[in-house]
Symmetry: C2
């Protein structure tokens, strides 16, 4: 057991080392770009943005590092604890998830806090401070794009590579330690769901707070210039200070409440799935209820009025609602996935059609929830309210993320139990914990998309307020063409990430075949495979495949904003302006959100429909229905683990890059 | 041969009769609704809108009726002519397509012309005339929704039903006259590509002209109220009359030029696919070149300036560009479809992933084309320019549509040759004509989507100008929530149309099974199956399945506009207003366009990848690659023939209904 666990630890460490080398190169390149831009005085870009950018990257990178370290150490301990009791296993796995949640949230808050204090000391202009602060969110994105996009490609490439050669060609079972790619596969689970999810939510968390602060700062600037009400920020100038403090306060209180509520998570021996889920929910819902009360108290204490609290609570409820909607559409206890499983009797084509239809339908509820939350937040507290809704949704992140990060730990614990040939009872306990992890992972994905959308909305609000383009002609051709351009980007991006998995997997396949052939005694279990090489190859291939989509996502807003700046006051102003960027951001937000929900839910439902059949329904394993369901699941893999989650990053990346560069268009 | 042709004719007649009964009910219901609304004086809705609505429905219905009558008569004549020479076959098939093209265009122009003359005689207010005129476009939509959505479900339900029982269960070949659903299947080809495509483009054609006229009329009204330049319509008030005449003139000239150029389409015996395609293109490109010159001449004669001609030509080029992009992504002579075919060696899941990635990627080029065309048209002639670009794109519709409507005639001719056991030489000629039809069908689909988008843009421009909401806060929560709502609608709509095919097919399957069992001597070819009953059942089921999505598409804009009218000057104004509808229209435009292109191109590429393998590549028929490609093709069927094309209707329907009801929000 310890040997395998160590191999996973070493693999994870190898992955992180390699990844962080690429991240460092990226951070240096972007810093140089930002420095170059800030050296042009009329671009209004503060060089402190670079400092904030590097800090954000460091903080998110550290959070990912700690999270991975804990997760790959907690898995064998979970197996160990599960060999004694179910509650023990649950507690160890959940505690390790809590470390991830707490680390992400603490580092984000710490970074923002320190930056505000330092920057305010150096510059006495709140607007400059807020502008530089946006760099911190951008830094978080730099990590997220590698962990989520690169990691998403990595995890599926290793998975496909391991299965294709191991299961299909060599005929050895899944998770067999003789398979050279098995460790890469296990590392991949942690990369996707721990580091990927963590960095994704780090970014949402930091950016939503920064967007709220930026809007609060702008409201004071606006009042000074007397343009107040047209901006619709929703905060009177004399409350600007309190409005800056509010998001930080509820975030900090949310952290404390969440840590307290993690102790509510416990289970009795022989607990059903429902009871286990209930136990996790007890923790999350208690934290939400307490923080909701505190949101009101703090709003009243700061004399901000009840409106901001209403906005924050609207966000909190929307997050829970989107999570529940995701569960409804992807869990086999409800009608949609059951129906999908039944349709697999009609063959693979029918399963695909039904799955895509399910994914499309599943967009409706989250969209309606976002609509209601936005209307409520806006009418309660203006644009600032929209940003506060995003902060509110993420206020209990530390415990929400704990339930997500718990999943891969439990999954790995099961794998370790399998590979170490532990007793049936232990397997049953780890299976129960693993199944729970699948549900929380689906809910977590929905939550991540929803919070990405709200965060991006908040960032766009800040961008619009900074550049002052809000009152525009809705049919301005720049705006319309921006929409179409923005709507196209998520599709271009997804087309690349979907084909990236196949391309990255090829290298893994070649390497696994080589090791099977060249390492003597491997198949007999007498020699160890070279796990590290498989991890290294998966990492390199994944990073290579993410360069094009990643570069695109950074380059397009940068080029558009530079172009708009250069076009200003020239003949070309009619074709390109801040309006184009606003249109692009809103178009990409819309399409990325819809496609991300579609992909995540279709993928989740296909996965669970297959598992439902494997549990003996509709003919069980090996039936025609099962074969069809496997096709659905295979299509769903890049949907739910690579392309879908990558879109979260895309939509926030476009918005945060635009906001960082917004001073150019002021 | 004649017996089968007659059966198809009778089937088509039966389909049209049944369909038109439902259409009549729909028209009566909507007329009653419009009459009711127009009886409320403060709603500003002219009762003449109802007259225009009924006229539009009649005109489009007549065009569909003539087109179908000709198409189902031309098929056996094409077979007959093809038994003598390839040129003869091509000319007969193309001539029948030309009849459809000419009928659609003439009836649209005639309807609009007569309405303008009559309405101007009765009311002396151009704004009232233009308002009522929008009803004509809406009437066209009433037919289009039945022909395109209902017809799309019909054609695939009949196809699936015929194949499932005939090929799979009874083991008789495709297109076998003993199969009771074979006639419904043949009728379906005509319904989808003749009546569906025709009514879709009728609507685009009429609506784009109406939108241009509306904007021209508004420009005079605006100047009178002195708000001129902010509207950005782009036409000075004293040119309003000429600006109304311009779209009608270029449309009429386009008709004449197109008819002339149909005579350029001819072929030599033994012509290759490239030569056949070149021969069709000679006709289309000549017409385009001539009309481009005339666009300039007319613009100068009317003293409108060269700007409007530039806008019109931008539209014309955009249409050709989108058509070519579609061909590139779906024809197996180019890289994307070849690559897709190769990927089928990796199994069904890989084919699906690659096909969806191809579809996503294929959105990029048409999106860029639309962006450039919109920017050019807008900067050349303002919002009016955008509407004129749509008119320009459709100016050669009569010959473009001829190349589309030619397809199913050639397809049916091949089927008749097969069923009548004609010689190998004849089969080869009809096969060549059929293959050409597949290419033109794909190009036609791209063109239909592109023109739907430009038309919807023009309609939205008119809506915004009528309601006067153009200068708004881009971050108004109503606008943002409208975007999200609008973006969601195409997915909700597609989820329904995709599952509708399966549901409608069930009834056909039951009926075919019944006939095989109960009609004695059927399998031995001694008794005739009851073709008409299969047609009737397919029709009824298809219409039943389209009620929900169709009703949704009409009800949502109606309810939103009524709601916005009632919310006006109340507390609820903050949540619902004209801004919501504008947002909804733009959001739906964006998502519907992208999903429609994705679906049409992925479906077309899967289809051609399968055919490419069937021609002996990659292992040919029966290989594992072929089996995988068949799964792709089956998924692609509802994509390209039902859900994708239905989205054209959705996006125009939402816009035209909103424009018809726009006076409520004036």
């Amino acid at each position: 057991m310890q040997r395998i666990a160590r191999a996973v630890q070493q693999g994870a460490a190898a992955f992180l080392r390699r990844e962080y080398v690429y991240v460092a190169i990226f951070v240096v390149l972007v810093s140089a770009l930002l420095l170059g831009l800030s050296s042009v005085p009329e671009f209004n870009l503060s060089p402190w943005t670079v400092v904030a950018f590097v800090s954000g990257a460091l903080a998110s990178g550290l959070a990912g590092f700690f999270g991975m370290q804990i997760a790959v150490r907690a898995n064998s301990r979970t197996t160990q604890a599960a060999s004694k009791s179910l509650d023990g296993g649950l507690r160890v796995a959940f505690a390790s998830g809590s470390v991830m949640g707490t680390t992400v949230v603490s580092l984000a808050l710490l970074g923002i806090g320190v930056l505000i204090i330092v920057l305010s000391g150096i510059k006495n202009d709140p607007q400059q401070v807020a502008g530089a602060l946006t760099g911190f969110g951008f830094g978080g994105t730099a990590i997220a794009i590698f962990a989520r996009v690169g990691g998403g490609i990595f995890t599926k490439a290793a998975d496909v590579g391991a299965d294709l050669v191991g299961k299909t060609e060599a005929g050895i079972p899944e998770d067999d330690p003789r398979n050279p790619a098995v460790i890469a596969d296990n590392v991949g689970d942690n990369v996707g769901d721990v580091a990927g999810m963590g960095s994704d939510l780090f970014e949402s968390y930091a950016s939503s707070i920064i967007a709220a602060i930026s809007l609060a700062v702008l409201s004071s600037g606006v009042a000074a210039s007397g343009a107040g009400s047209t901006l619709g920020i929703g905060i009177p100038a004399d409350k600007a200070g309190a409005a800056q403090a509010y998001p930080l306060l509820i975030a900090a209180l949310g952290l404390i409440v969440s840590i307290g509520c993690t102790f509510l998570v416990r289970a009795q021996e022989g607990a059903t799935q429902g009871q286990l889920l209930g136990s996790l929910r007890r923790g999350v819902y208690s934290a939400s209820a307490i923080i909701a009360v505190l949101m009101i108290v703090v709003a009243l204490l700061l004399d901000l009025g009840i409106g901001v609290a209403i906005a924050a609570i609207a966000g909190l409820l929307a997050g829970a609602g989107i999570g529940f909607s995701t569960e409804y559409f992807t869990s086999d206890t409800y009608r949609p996935t059951r129906y999908l499983a039944e349709s697999s009797e009609g063959g693979p084509a029918i399963v695909i059609i039904q799955g895509i239809a399910l994914g499309m339908l599943s967009v409706v509820v989250p969209a309606l929830i976002v609509i209601v939350a936005t209307l409520v937040a806006y009418s309660a507290a203006g644009l600032y309210g929209v940003a506060i809704a995003a902060v509110g949704m993420l206020s209990t992140l530390s415990i929400t993320l704990a339930t997500d990060a718990y999943g891969p730990v439990a999954d790995n614990a099961g794998g370790i139990a399998e590979m170490s040939h532990l007793g049936k009872e232990v397997r049953e306990r780890t299976d129960a914990l693993d199944a729970l992890g699948n549900t929380t992972a689906a809910v977590g994905k929905g939550f991540a998309i929803g919070s990405a959308l709200m965060t991006a909305l908040a960032l766009i609000a800040a961008f619009v307020s900074v550049t002052g383009v809000q009152a525009i002609n809705i049919l301005d051709a720049r705006l319309i063409t921006g929409f179409i351009l923005g709507g196209m980007l998520p599709l271009l991006f997804s087309a690349q990430t979907m084909t990236a998995v196949g391309k990255a997997a090829r290298g893994v396949v070649v390497e696994v075949r080589r090791q099977f052939k060249e390492i003597p005694g491997l198949m007999e279990g007498k020699a160890d495979p070279d796990y590290a090489r498989c991890v290294a190859i998966s990492t390199d291939n994944a990073i290579r495949q993410m360069i094009l989509p990643g570069a695109l996502a950074v380059a397009i807003p940068v080029l558009l904003i530079l172009g708009a700046r250069l076009a200003r006051d020239t003949e070309f102003e009619r074709f390109l302006g801040a309006e184009t960027i606003v249109g692009m951001l809103i178009g990409s937000l819309l399409v990325a959100f819809m496609v991300a929900v579609l992909m995540a839910n279709a993928g989740g439902a296909w996965d669970n429909a297959k598992k439902y059949i494997e549990r003996g329904n509709l003919g069980g394993k090996g039936s025609a229905a099962h074969k069809a369901a496997v096709v659905g699941d295979t299509v769903g893999d890049p949907f739910k683990d690579t392309s879908g989650p990558s879109l979260n990053i895309l939509l926030k990346l476009l918005a945060i890059v635009s906001l960082v560069m917004a001073p150019l268009l002021r």
